[in-house]
Symmetry: C2
Subunit: 400 residues, 2 copies
């Protein structure tokens, strides 16, 4: 790709994302909806002006990892541990029910093959932690009790989703499910989440020391980006999703970082502040690219809108994808508003669902119609909950 | 390319660049030498760990444009106009002499064909404005009188170089030199440099107004990057090098911006400050990538070190490339130190020379040996002057 062609693509993405985000906010929807819509408008669904090239895809990848880094940076880890029981309940229910319901609809009601049904279950079960987080941030709820429960649940959900993906992938290439490998993957991810923040913390102390003696400006942007990229790579290498690496790195540099067993690694608040100030513009540049790319990945034209089967299938899947995520909130002790908000936060599927769908299509497990249905379900689960949450939140604020 | 492979490449580039830059500074060389050296170490010349993929190449492209944007942002345009006569002399001499000498050496002494000799002349004539600027910045001379003369000269030199490239390219594909097209290209570039800063200024006023009413954070990074990309694209479309677009955009947003005929476009100093503060981390992230890529593009292994002809050819070319750029400084009224510094600043060839060399190799105009020689000449002209300038500057400071 010639650089001037790339420049024009990137600038169209950035400007369109901004315009639609501003419009969305004025229509009481979260900014992320506008950015997704920008992708739908620019992509194959409508005008087809932008194709996702390698560079845009990789920059979007940096965007989602940096977004999770920012979330980690602002996470109150003590609060996270406090709300962990509720998070586990929400995560496990939100993982099991949609998977089960999706599988039953596909296999028992629509007589699809076992493998296809398993992949459909997988597609409708994975929460999009990125979109969830952005919606919570837009509503200024990311540091609230609700936000912390959802965040913890989304992280667990994401890990479960990736393990399911690994299993189904193994299954689809004919390897069969191997219980020893499953255990190994699980062990790796657990070790990563305990060790990564400690290692990242030690590295950040090194960077801080080095920053004091360096004579060239610009240490923080390059070294912090390097740190985040390193943990994303490490996460992938250990079999975890890359964005969890970004989250772990952010957690470690957070002002409120907390290590079990009282290891003496004091946070330098001044340093954390400087990191936040210098990283913000970079994060704000890259994250919209990710959400536009999610929109670009949807091809709403692929759907044969005249078929009744497709509508019934899509609507049933959407219903279970929606309700399946809400069930968990019945098992925790919260008021009705919090339950709605928590359940709703888990509904968006976004990129992880799209990964499942894409894998199913590439492996010839999904027909074009099933793929189109799944894309539509993912789009609906991604677009509706933020609107409802925004409305619920405004109503609640008015009442109180 | 898989995203985790890309992440590890990018982080190796960023960290190695930083380490070698810190080492270079401690050895009294400019940071850019360290970054170039990082590229040589990582690239085919030594370990061959990193190959320049599309994404790294495009990010390097953003890096050089952002660097020029930063220079424009900090440029005192009144000072530039003041020193313009000297800049023109330096630029024209620095363009004509190396081209002529390089052509004569290749054509008359080494009996090379006309087209090959013309391309060799072109390769040794183009100043690398990027490296020049970085060196001046490292020495804190970019705002000095010397810096302003060199900057003006480098910009003119770059434009002349690109026009020569366009001509030679036309010539090499058999089109012949068309004087009407030459005039058109020249006209386009002139118009661009007069109109671009005014348009960019008007857009920046829009951004500033919009920034006051926007409810979503992050307007400045995305809109300023979009503005810079737009002008880079526009520059290319009008037949000018992309980096001049970045320079024009920076000029327009500069605190000291000045429009002829007294058009009333007052600079908002507060806004300029915010732009500088938020753009700095992004610029500091992208620019080292460019200089590492320049190092990665050099393949010192391609040289057959045993051949005497190659050594004589390389040394003669290097000599005229070096002296050819120094001659111009004899024709201007400055003290000896300033003359040395100005002449030396124009010596680095870097990326523009590499574009000429690459084009010659792709068009089968250069043999492997000539290409290797030219790469070596470019490397030497890039590496030596900053070291000499650093030394001259330190000596001068000690004396005064």
């Amino acid at each position: 790709m010639e650089s001037h062609d790339f420049f024009i693509d990137l600038l169209i993405i950035l400007i369109t994302a901004r315009i639609f985000a501003e419009l969305a906010v004025r229509m009481y929807a979260p900014a992320v909806i506008g950015e997704l819509f920008a992708g739908i408008v620019l992509g194959p669904s409508l005008f087809g002006w932008i194709e996702i090239g390698e560079t845009i895809r990789l920059m979007a990848g940096i965007g989602i990892i940096l977004l999770l880094f920012e979330v980690g940076l602002e996470t109150n880890i003590k609060g996270l541990i406090h709300s962990s029981k509720k998070s586990v309940i929400i995560a496990i229910c939100g993982f099991v029910f949609p998977f089960l319901f999706g599988f039953i609809i596909a296999h028992n009601f629509f007589s699809m093959p076992l493998l296809t049904a398993l992949f459909i279950g997988g597609t409708v079960t994975a929460t999009s932690i990125g979109i969830t987080v952005r919606v919570l941030t837009d509503l200024r709820l990311e540091q609230s009790r609700i936000g912390q429960i959802v965040l913890g649940a989304a992280v667990i959900d994401d890990v479960l989703g990736v393990m399911l993906l690994a299993l189904l992938y193994e299954f689809s290439i004919g390897g069969g499910v191997n219980i020893i490998n499953v255990g190994k993957v699980f062990l790796f991810i657990s070790a990563f989440f305990v060790l990564a923040p400690i290692v990242a913390r030690l590295i950040s102390i090194l960077i801080n020391r080095f920053d004091e003696i360096s004579e060239i400006p610009g240490l923080i942007p390059t070294s912090i980006i390097s740190l985040v990229l390193f943990f994303a790579w490490l996460a992938h290498t250990l079999g975890a999703p890359e964005l969890l690496g970004g989250f772990a790195a952010g957690l470690a540099l957070s002002r409120r970082f907390f290590i079990p067993f009282g290891i003496a690694l004091q946070s330098d608040i001044n340093f954390s502040d400087r990191i936040e100030k210098q990283m913000k513009p970079i994060i704000q540049l890259f994250t919209p690219i990710f959400f536009v790319v999610v929109g670009l990945s949807l091809s709403l034209r692929d759907i044969d809108w005249g078929s009744a089967t497709i509508w019934i299938f899509t609507l049933s899947l959407f219903t279970v994808a929606f309700i399946g995520k809400m069930i968990g909130s019945l098992f925790i002790h919260e008021n009705r508003f919090s339950r709605y908000m928590i359940g709703m936060s888990m509904v968006p599927r976004g990129e992880v669902g799209l990964i499942f769908a894409e894998l199913g299509r590439e492996g010839d497990i999904f027909s074009n119609e099933i793929y189109a249905s799944l894309v539509l379900v993912i789009a609906l689960t991604t677009i509706l909950p933020p609107l409802i949450m925004k409305w619920l939140n405004t109503r609640e604020s008015v009442i109180n």
